[in-house]
């Protein structure tokens, strides 16, 4: 196993941990953070797989995608935080209302 694969597997781990937090926590800030952790995992997988052939120069295409992806993720996070603040202002709670049938 070379270091590129190790980074890629770490990315898979980060993605799964983030998904776990996204499902388990109701607080919207935690959900937003969880999505960011998932995104970091995806970026790590992409960058690591771009350089997984030892000796060859890294593939620039996934690197270019990750560079723009990071900036887009930051702006999407900002939009999500603004939406969260609106939800809190409207309902008083920073979480989505729960669906209860009974």
């Amino acid at each position: 196993m070379n270091s590129g694969l190790l980074y890629a597997l770490t990315g898979v781990g980060l993605f799964t941990l983030g998904l776990n937090a996204l499902i388990m926590h109701a607080h919207l800030l935690r959900k937003i953070l969880a999505i960011n952790v998932m995104g970091s995992g995806v970026f790590l997988v992409l960058v690591a797989l771009g350089g997984r052939v030892p000796g060859a120069s890294p593939d620039p295409v996934p690197h270019a995608m990750v560079i723009t992806g990071i900036v887009v993720a930051v702006s999407a996070t900002a939009l999500a935080l603004a939406l969260m603040l609106r939800v809190r202002a409207a309902t008083g709670k920073p979480r989505l209302p729960e669906e209860r049938q009974e």
Partner: protein, 226 residues
């Protein structure tokens, strides 16, 4: 939460954890079993580097070979900012200026960061760097200024601010449409002009990215706007 719910919850969360573990195992298997030979993309990139106008393959992919993607990503940034602005005006900042440490730092750091952004933009043609990195540094400088309660003068908030925000997308589209009318292909740079055009687009994009990210940090429309 009722008593029945409380006793059921650990079981559900255990099930979710098991599913997630299975997902992680599947993804790891997918990563490990990827074939060694890659799609020929990186070979194509290195074969066409001479025509790209820059020496850094990542910049060549971003601004030349996949210019479309980057154009649309500038659009995404703008849409995110529109979303934030449509949700309300900026949160009123706290009164009282910054402490002595912060203002000292801001005075020292912000000029250095602007210089750094210019350097990153220029060096992106040949080494790691480029519009997105330079724009991020510029945005950090802007956020430092916002944190120390500095705001744009009111006369700059309206049209001048909006012009800078759309500058990157505008430069991209103008270059693309001009080339479309000259040689019939959108964003197909002539090899002799490619370097200059890329630098032009990147300079505009750097400004837009920096200002957009700093404006996103504000969390709403600038207040003098309404």
């Amino acid at each position: 939460m009722s008593v029945a719910d409380r006793s059921r919850l650990p079981l559900v969360s255990r099930g979710v954890r098991l599913l997630l573990l299975a997902l992680a195992g599947g993804l790891s298997y997918a990563v490990l079993s990827l074939p060694d030979q890659r799609v020929e993309l990186s070979d194509q990139v290195s074969a066409n580097m001479a025509a790209s106008g820059v020496h850094n393959p990542v910049t060549a992919v971003l601004l030349n070979f996949r210019g479309y993607d980057t154009l649309l990503e500038m659009g995404v940034l703008l849409v995110a900012l529109l979303g934030v602005w449509s949700l309300g005006t900026a949160v009123a900042h706290r009164r009282g200026g910054p402490g002595p440490v912060l203002s000292f730092l801001v005075e020292g750091l912000v000029p250095m960061m602007i210089l750094m952004a210019g350097y990153l933009l220029w060096v992106g043609a040949a080494a790691p760097g480029g519009a997105f990195q330079a724009g991020s540094v510029l945005a950090a400088a802007g956020i430092l200024l916002l944190l120390s309660s500095k705001r744009l003068p009111v006369r700059l908030v309206g049209r001048p601010l909006r012009l800078v925000l759309v500058l990157g997308l505008l430069a991209f589209v103008v270059v693309g449409v001009t080339l479309l009318s000259v040689n019939g292909i959108f964003l197909q740079y002539p090899p002799g002009l490619a370097g200059g055009l890329i630098l032009f687009i990147e300079a505009a994009a750097t400004l837009s990215i920096g200002v957009t990210l700093a404006a996103l940090f504000l969390g709403g429309r600038p207040d003098s706007d309404t």
